[in-house]
């Protein structure tokens, strides 16, 4: 039963570890500290003009880096690729865009795509209404593109003239927090939400790794609960098994001692016999423990070197020897208590 529960516990641990790894990979791919704020707007398309999210931008600069983009409602037609979202970028954001999209370089009309059939730097024609540009392909990951839309993205400098359209657009802020721990990131996301609320920007939408982080934490808590439960049951079972086997051994020892005494074996001889047996067993167990400890202390993989140094520094060899001698003596004395109890019992009460 203990083995079964141990296997169950191990399987649960493996299952949770696997699930958590998947979520952790998703978080890593999406960017732990990455936040995407989108807001539907209407009016001037020039990024240099004041926007609803302007107050937020000022505050984000202190906590990481960001890029501000505007996504048009129209879609461009790209040669061989079809539809593409059109986003306008500011010159000042070029450096930060390189951080968000690996492989991002240059300026002008850029085409971000995850498709591998078009090599990096290939020029493809892109059309938006009556306007046409030669866009340079920049390959990037699908995950990086997720924030801007699922398909390819045509990035155009904000200064370039564009068709008027219906005047609507979506403001996109790509923000990468400088915080590296989930608690700080959680706090920053909370702060962004608060700012959006304070500025009464109710149409803003916020995407972050927070749901994934919450999921990961929930999984960790669930794992902790399961592990505690299974380990408690295993511990109880082991205690029960050991207690019952110890009791059975006590009875067996008492029986054998009584039988041998009934045949004339002196009690002191039996006591000495158990003393020798237990001492040998204890020395054997102690040697095993020493071996395991030596392994832990000498193998840098097993324990951090700082910890091992601390452990080694705790005792001098002589102190350690005396300490272990005490431990052995006390263990030996304790192990003989049930034997003594058995030997003290009258033979006639054990043997029927």
């Amino acid at each position: 039963m203990a083995c079964f529960l141990f296997a169950l516990g191990l399987s649960l641990d493996l299952y949770f570890a696997g699930s958590q790894k998947t979520v952790a990979q998703q978080i890593e791919a999406a960017g732990l500290g990455r936040v995407v704020v989108t807001n539907f707007s209407y009016g001037s398309r020039m990024p240099g003009k004041a926007t609803a999210l302007s107050p937020l931008l000022d505050k984000l600069a202190d906590n990481g880096y960001y890029a501000y983009l505007r996504r048009l409602s129209q879609q461009a037609q790209v040669e061989l690729l079809g539809d593409a979202h059109v986003l306008m970028y500011r010159d000042q954001d070029l450096i930060d865009l390189r951080e968000f999209f690996p492989g991002f370089e240059g300026a002008g009309a850029l085409l971000l795509t995850a498709r591998r059939e078009f090599p990096h730097g290939t020029r493809l024609n892109a059309k938006l209404g009556s306007l046409e540009w030669g866009a340079r392909v920049i390959q990037t990951s699908q995950t990086a593109l997720e924030a801007l839309g699922r398909k390819q993205v045509l990035l155009l400098p904000a200064e370039w003239p564009l068709p008027q359209g219906d005047g609507s657009y979506i403001e996109v802020i790509l923000f990468e927090s400088s915080a590296r721990d989930s608690a700080s990131i959680r706090a920053q996301i909370g702060k962004i939400r608060q700012l959006l609320t304070l500025d009464e920007i109710s149409t803003a939408n916020l995407q972050s790794s927070l749901p994934l982080l919450n999921r990961l934490e929930a999984m960790q808590q669930q794992q902790a609960r399961w592990s505690t439960t299974v380990r408690s049951i295993v511990a109880i079972l082991i205690i029960l098994v050991f207690a019952s086997s110890a009791f059975l051994e006590y009875r067996e020892n008492a029986y054998l001692s009584a039988l041998l005494q009934s045949m004339g074996v002196p009690r002191i001889f039996l006591l000495l016999r158990y003393l020798v047996e237990h001492a040998l067993l204890l020395i054997f167990a102690f040697s095993l423990c020493c071996g395991a400890l030596t392994y832990l202390l000498t193998e840098p993989v097993a324990l951090p070197s700082m910890l091992t140094n601390d452990l080694i520094g705790l005792f001098s060899p002589l102190q350690a020897f005396y300490s272990w001698l005490w431990v052995l003596t006390i263990s030996l004395a304790l192990s003989l208590l049930p034997i003594l109890a058995g030997l003290r019992k009258e033979i006639g009460r054990i043997l029927q």
């Binding site: 039988l259 009934s262 045949m263 004339g264 009258e346 033979i347 006639g348 043997l351 029927q352």
Partner: protein, 202 residues
């Protein structure tokens, strides 16, 4: 359980007759030193033994539940008993062979107790007690649950042992031990232990 009891036994076979729970086994255990009397004393050769284990060397005890070593063969059980009694290796071998033969156990010598029938186990327990050549043989219900054939074998052996000068004390309520007079059992004493010890003949 046992009160106001006094007796002296000098060789031969003594039967302690009585119903279950009347103190027969207790008396045997007191004699063997397996229990400490709350009052009074047990004397062997006119003296209270100071070292009980030395006294036990000269006593053979057959328990009601036999208490053979379960993992040892019958031969090993016998040899261990003889060795612990301090017999020489030669005596150990001779006695073991002798009692295995006399009690009809020679073909089961290498078998473990659990592989034997109840009667064979009973005989093995008696052989283990006899093999150490004790001066006193104490038997607790040695024939309970045995058929007549096994009972006769045991009685014959006990009678032979008593004839050779040993003292045998048997606690029993088996009436066959009384009726089988022709098996040369010398019922030389009946012990009235308190009110419980009554002969089945009565």
């Amino acid at each position: 359980m046992l009160d106001s009891f006094s007796a002296e036994m000098n060789g031969g076979i003594t039967l302690l007759l009585g119903f279950s729970g009347c103190g027969k086994s207790t008396l045997l255990k007191l004699i063997a030193g397996f229990l400490r009397p709350t009052a009074g004393c047990i004397q062997l050769d006119g003296e209270s033994p100071r070292r009980k284990h030395l006294c036990r060397l000269s006593i053979g005890f057959v328990f009601q539940q036999l208490n053979l070593l379960p993992l040892a063969s019958i031969q090993q059980n016998l040899k261990m008993s003889a060795s612990l009694a301090g017999l020489s290796p030669g005596e150990v071998s001779n006695n073991t062979e002798k009692y295995l033969l006399e009690l009809g156990l020679e073909s089961f010598a290498n078998q473990r107790p659990i592989e034997l029938s109840g009667g064979q186990q009973q005989r093995a327990a008696i052989a283990r007690a006899l093999v150490k050549q004790p001066r006193i043989l104490l038997l607790d219900e040695p024939t309970s649950g045995l058929d007549d054939l096994n009972t006769r074998v045991i009685i014959r052996q006990l009678a032979s042992y008593a004839d050779s000068g040993g003292t045998v004390i048997i606690a029993t309520h088996d009436t066959r031990l009384q009726t089988l007079h022709h098996e040369r059992i010398d019922f030389n004493r009946f012990l009235p232990v308190e009110r419980h010890l009554e002969t089945v003949a009565d």
